[in-house]
């Protein structure tokens, strides 16, 4: 697994990814042609993948986001060093913080 700040990418075995996820249309890319995994609302800084691939939004145990990189790729962010990613499927996990009675997502 690969961690860039508050985002963790957990590799998922190809045969474990449900067929309905593989059939889903991917999320649109941003203006710079990147797949945006997480966006800082105020700064506009993003954990993003400029590479060929697909980002699928999937609520439930596999979601909320799955990333497919058929040729491998690169995870970039304005404030973190880039990470080279081997080809395959990944679950995208956002870091969270505990607050009594609930929890909230961390944003960097």
């Amino acid at each position: 697994m690969y961690r860039q700040g508050d985002v963790l990418l957990v590799p998922a075995a190809e045969d474990a990814v449900p067929p309905h996820v593989k059939d889903r249309q991917g999320e649109p890319r941003d203006a710079r042609g990147r797949l945006v995994l997480a966006l800082g609302e105020v700064t506009g800084h993003a954990h993003a993948v400029p590479s060929r691939g697909r980002l699928v939004r999937e609520p439930g145990p596999w979601g909320p986001l799955l990333l497919e990189l058929p040729e491998g790729g690169r995870l970039v962010h304005e404030e973190h060093a880039p990470i080279a990613l081997p080809k395959g499927w990944y679950r995208v996990v956002r870091q969270r913080e505990y607050v009594p009675g609930a929890y909230r997502v961390v944003a960097d």
């Binding site: 957990v10 999320e27 609302e41 404030e79 870091q95 505990y98």
Partner: protein, 331 residues
């Protein structure tokens, strides 16, 4: 980033502060009426904040009926239907994800907080009724981003939003608000300020918040004078949490002589016992990418009180079991 993109432009509109461009906003109001097939309003009146606007509307006697439906709701619904038909259901969903959806949560939350602030006063029910007639101007940015560049039908609404705050269209009178003079938000887009109002308008209408949580207006003064004793004495758990965050966990830990509970390769686990409340458990983790000055930023994340090891705490922040958390690369 290419700042001519609609979503970026509207992100800036939603967060704009400072004096309205009254001439352009008024031209937008008149255009919106004309596009709705209505005569222009005879009078346009200005207010410094939504609260003042609600008071002003309450005092109006011959404004005529609300024309919000004709001016905003119907053209909007028509545009949505038109774009939806043009793009198809999947295309519309993709278009919305790339435009309005990116602004929706934060602007809606902000508008909700302003509404709560306006109704938190005398005659709340009356204020609520007046608010039903409001067009949200700059805070309609999400929808306007989705329709930007797809026709001129909403040009009047867009012009008001770009140049002013909330507004109230009535048959004979339009009431338009200035934008806030202060708006402070955190990375997640939540209202956030420790040394003054997070949102303030020129007439003094203001909202105080820390990382999105509403706090009393005298709270910033209190934050400036915090001591560990004052924090321990605070009975309201939410305010105490805010105090702890503002004071700094690290400083609080040092001054209360807290001891690390556990340490491993993922970080350090700390614990503070609080009277009449669950323990505060925190993991101290170090950012793996150096700052420009070569130092590494340490940060603190609160984790569930039953956490026993640093690894368990860090794994929890990603929804994983301690044995599952094995990052190969961290930056």
């Amino acid at each position: 980033m290419n700042d001519t993109l609609p979503v970026d432009k509207w992100r800036a509109v939603a967060a704009a502060t400072g004096p309205a461009d009254r001439a352009s906003a008024e031209e937008g109001v008149r255009l919106a009426y004309r596009l709705a097939g209505l005569p222009e309003p005879q009078e346009i009146r200005w207010a410094d904040s939504p609260r003042e606007a609600v008071e002003l509307v309450k005092e109006l006697t011959d404004q005529g009926r609300s024309v919000r439906d004709e001016v905003r709701t119907r053209p909007w619904a028509d545009e949505r239907r038109r774009v939806h038909d043009e793009l198809g259901p999947g295309g519309w969903t993709a278009h919305w994800s790339a435009t309005g959806a990116m602004l929706w949560d934060t602007t809606r939350a902000l508008a909700d907080r302003i509404r709560d602030g306006v109704t938190d006063g005398p005659e709340p029910d009356r204020a609520r009724l007046v608010l039903l007639d409001a067009v949200l101007g700059q805070h309609d940015a999400a929808w306007l981003a989705a329709f930007d560049g797809r026709g001129d039908r909403l040009a009047g609404l867009a012009a008001v939003a770009e140049h002013a705050g909330w507004w109230w269209p009535y048959e004979r009178v339009a009431v338009v608000c200035e934008r806030p003079v202060e708006l402070h938000r955190d990375e997640a887009g939540r209202l956030d300020r420790g040394d003054g109002p997070a949102l303030a308008f020129a007439d003094g209408f203001a909202l105080y918040a820390w990382r999105g949580m509403p706090v009393p207006s005298d709270f910033p003064d209190e934050l400036a004078a915090l001591t560990p004793e004052r924090i321990r004495a605070e009975r309201n758990a939410e305010l105490r949490r805010v105090m702890l965050e503002f004071y700094g966990y690290e400083r609080y830990l040092a001054e209360s002589n807290a001891q690390p509970v556990h340490r491993d390769e993922t970080g350090v686990l700390w614990r503070i016992a609080l009277a009449d409340d669950e323990d505060v458990a925190m993991v101290e983790v170090v950012n793996s990418t150096p700052e420009p000055d070569g130092t590494y930023r340490t940060y603190w994340l609160r984790v569930p009180p039953e956490t026993r090891t640093a690894r368990q705490g860090v794994a929890w922040t990603f929804g994983l079991q301690p044995e599952e958390y094995r990052p190969l690369v961290e930056t």
